[in-house]
Symmetry: C2
Subunit: 567 residues, 2 copies
């Protein structure tokens, strides 16, 4: 491709609302442009990146035995009513009526559509297993679309759904998909981790997320420094911590006057006792499908509540804040809440199981209890609700864990029979009995990957594409196209690289050299060949976009040298 | 692909509303299934056909210098208001509001989006020409979706748009696109014609449609039996016909009592005069953007009115029927309308220019005028409004024309400045003046092609795919998979063909042989290799789906023989 003919409208201005590098550089580099909030056009270079990602995904899925389909994007509301999601799904589900007043939804995900497709067409265990996927448009009417392609409304997703006769077979496919996803993200040239994920609201028994490691990631991941263990903090576990100091000794179990002291920090100072030996209370309102209640969560003073884990522990859809007034109305004393004698539901963190010699709230204003003993509390009251923190120990091997940031680009899920049972999608098993399909579901954020790649690979000048998904591998920059010697060598190198099957662009525009270099750095081709002043000495320069190092190469050796870098 | 693992749910039942072969066989063959009226899923085999079509289109367009983009499918209403189409476009334009009450449209075509993309990003003639295309979803809320993929609501289209500094350059690109389209449809293995098309309502100066020839086509095409000329009857011209018989002689111009006789047939019988010498009147109501009027069209009695040509002749959006009462109110005498003394607008067919010695209506009930003379009528009243019929003469070479049926699968269009001017999309020309882009637009119905291919290539047993776009080229049918000799040879042939890069499926299902043959014929792979009873004599059968001829081949020569057919 000659840049003089290419539609790659680079610009100096970043979008006003852009804060993340991928948003800024993808727009400035002429890869995408915003049409409306959360809706983007892919320009020729953006489309090329997208297609490369798409074809790597397709190749690996096809190799793994998956079959590609393309489902309707506009989906009838009846299917959403069958599954029960029409009412539950919030405003993200964009609903509208056609000219005949029939109700439709712009597909935000396709579980219903896929179950409806397979229902009645796969009728026997002999036709199982089956893994169908598509790489297609999705629409979610996000409340706050932002970060460019990272949180858009219209986006491209690979969504796959597998159908099985048993949980075991579904788990076999789930493991195969985990392997396949690892191959895919490796081939994309990205640094990533497969992490344990929250299974929460969707239900199902296990789930892993694939995270592209990047400082700007919205997700926090706990990663073991020794073994393979990694998990989203929303789901991360830890080994039971070792007490940081020796336990204090309390001779009695009695109230102690602590006027105005409510924070763990103040109390620790006041009692000269490590926060580990305090019982921290966090009151929340739990929201269920059709009801709500106040729940108090208790943890060690040195720990924080993980709200997703806490909500899952009680089967709530979400936890929201509760006001002091509401607590008082419920007979709870804010700031001085004891795990004893509560009328409302309480949950204690597992790490408090059997703990004694603690300090906790006194259920009375300005009083705490010393010498609290939780060893007689019912087992059923305990659950893992703690937020794993830097330095906590790996639940698998006991080594120290670190926290890092990631962008979720894939999610695999042991779904079970949730949709097939609700939608009455059954097959005849080996005994001739009708059973709902056991399902798995597997997603990849395809357009999101375009942005994630840049979040992970950029500098202050622009994009640094992994060569596997770069719009082109090499840019030949002719410094001054009016210089016939430069211009002819540029053409010659361009033709030679094309002949070798290299994806190359020739910057043959009548622009200043400085502008061309800026575009090279902004667009982020992995390599450039500069045909410029050094040609007087018979040399061209090979530039590595990542390091920005320049290498003078005799013009006759330029191609050979470049090919060494490319392969 | 092994059919035992493939999701190809063939069925005996056709959809209730299906009348066309492509609709019936694509559903029965497990290529597509309907989700809702006019909305279809593509199943694995349908998706493969779609992808093959897509990649042939992409290859040829890229070779011709076009650049692929992917525009937002959900488009903001403001753009449609800018172009003026928001009000004009009828109910086909599906409009809805998002959660913030912003108005959007599901893109039925993307002129506005493409102009908005290029506007402000291409600012100089130096950046022209530019040809951008996408292969993407479209939605048109058709009043009567029908015929399966031929007239759906959600469909896949390739839409391209070119931008130029001059009409001449746009015409050069238009010619290039015509050549490119011919290459595309040739590579798809289809019999087609490029025909002159109506430019009507969209405006612009020239337009060609690409028609896949098929008996079930909705369009009628006039095709010259000698030269290249071909045109949609909505736009077809003809050479001035030779009078079929000698002209009658009328000594006077006078009224003649013709009680109750209004049809040309009755009048021709009554007067013993050839219909050619009658003046036929067709009264219509012409609908314009903001007004309407009665218009009377006059033609020879041997001709029919072509309504699209007639509407274009007067710049109307469409012509609708007008009642006898309305005519009477306007002082017109239905059945006896003369081209003389009308208060309303009249248009005469060009073939009546200078004609004398005619019979026409008398503007009085039960009277006709004989010896009518049109030679003094103003030139401006004449226009080409006639429907070309079988046997008419080619306007280019004078040879006889035939009528045939076609399915429109492509359309190229010299668009001009209609959208760029309305949307203020300008560039600086060589003199530094701001000018609106001169545009061309080029469409291909991608999902429609899947159906058109079958309309053209089928028999009473099912699909007969052109090998260029067949889901697979060959099906190896193992007659009885429990016969280990058959089953082993099937596997061996399958592996050998895979190794040769042949797209092959192995029918290794535990079904009856008859069912497998029926599926082969229904799905329509170009060839089958049957490994069955003949294996006892060391032979397999090679079946050509098109002719259904079977050839016994020694098993050792099967691959070689098949390769001869494939290439």
């Amino acid at each position: 491709m000659r840049l003089s003919k290419a539609f790659v409208p680079t610009t100096k201005e970043a979008p006003k609302d852009a804060v993340l590098p991928s948003h800024i550089y993808l727009v400035r580099g002429g890869f995408i442009n915003q049409v409306a909030s959360g809706i983007y056009n892919f320009l020729p270079f953006g489309k090329r990146v997208l297609d490369k990602i798409r074809s790597i995904i397709k190749e690996e899925l096809d190799k793994a035995g998956c079959q590609e389909v393309q489902l309707g994007f506009v989906t009838p509301c009846e299917l959403w009513e069958e599954s029960g999601r029409f009412a539950k799904y919030g405003k993200e589900l964009l609903r509208f009526k056609d000219r005949k007043e029939n109700c439709f939804v712009l597909g935000p995900t396709h579980e219903e559509m896929m179950v409806a497709l397979v229902r009645g067409r796969v009728t026997s265990y002999k036709q199982l297993p089956l893994n169908l996927y598509q790489i297609n448009l999705k629409f979610r009417d996000e409340a706050r679309p932002r970060f460019g392609l990272l949180r858009g409304r219209e986006f491209i997703m690979k969504d796959g759904y597998s159908f099985h006769e048993s949980i075991e077979d579904m788990q076999r496919e789930y493991a195969l998909m985990e392997e396949t996803y690892k191959k895919i993200f490796t081939r994309l040239g990205l640094t990533f981790r497969a992490v344990e994920a929250d299974v929460g609201a969707i239900g199902g028994s296990a789930s892993k997320e694939f995270m592209v490691i990047a400082n700007s990631g919205e997700d926090t991941i706990a990663v073991c420094s020794a073994c393979e263990y990694a998990a989203n903090v929303e789901a991360a576990k830890r080994k039971k911590p070792v007490p940081p100091v020796e336990a204090p000794e309390f001779s009695n179990f009695e109230p102690f006057y602590t006027p105005g002291l409510t924070s763990i920090e103040e109390l620790s100072d006041f009692f000269k006792v490590h926060p580990y030996y305090f019982v921290k209370a966090v009151a929340k309102k739990a929201i269920y499908d059709e009801s709500e209640e106040i729940v108090i969560f208790f943890l060690r003073g040195s720990d924080e509540l993980q709200e997703i884990k806490a909500a899952n522990a009680i089967g709530a859809n979400e936890l929201v804040d509760v006001s002091e007034e509401e607590l008082q109305e419920a007979g709870i004393v804010p700031g001085f809440i004891a795990p004893y004698e509560q009328q409302c539901r309480i949950v204690l963190d597992e790490d408090l199981k059997g703990a004694k010699g603690l300090i906790c709230g006194g259920n009375r204003k300005d009083y705490h209890l010393i010498g609290a003993d939780l060893s007689h509390f019912d087992e059923a009251l305990f659950a893992d609700i703690v937020q794993v923190k830097e330095g906590d120990l790996c639940p698998e091997c006991g080594a120290v864990m670190k926290l890092t940031k990631g962008i979720e680009v894939g999610h695999i899920f042991q779904l079970g029979t949730r949709y097939s049972a609700a939608m009455n999608a059954t097959f005849l098993d080996r005994d001739g009995k009708a059973k709902p399909f056991v399902m798995g579901t597997y997603g990849i954020g395809v357009s999101r990957l375009v942005a994630a790649a840049i979040e992970q690979n950029h500098d202050e000048r622009g994009c640094i594409w992994p060569k596997e998904i770069a719009p082109y591998e090499v840019c030949i920059i002719v410094s001054n196209i009016k210089d016939s010697e430069q211009s002819e060598l540029g053409e010659e190198l361009y033709q030679k690289l094309l002949d070798k099957g290299v994806e190359v662009v020739l910057d043959d525009r009548a622009d200043r050299f400085g502008a061309k270099i800026k575009d090279f750095e902004l667009i982020g081709y992995p390599y450039a060949l500069i045909v410029g002043k050094a040609l007087k000495e018979g040399k061209v320069q090979l530039v590595d976009r990542k390091t920005l190092q320049k290498l003078d190469v005799p013009k006759e050796e330029a191609i050979e040298e470049l090919m060494r870098y490319l392969h």
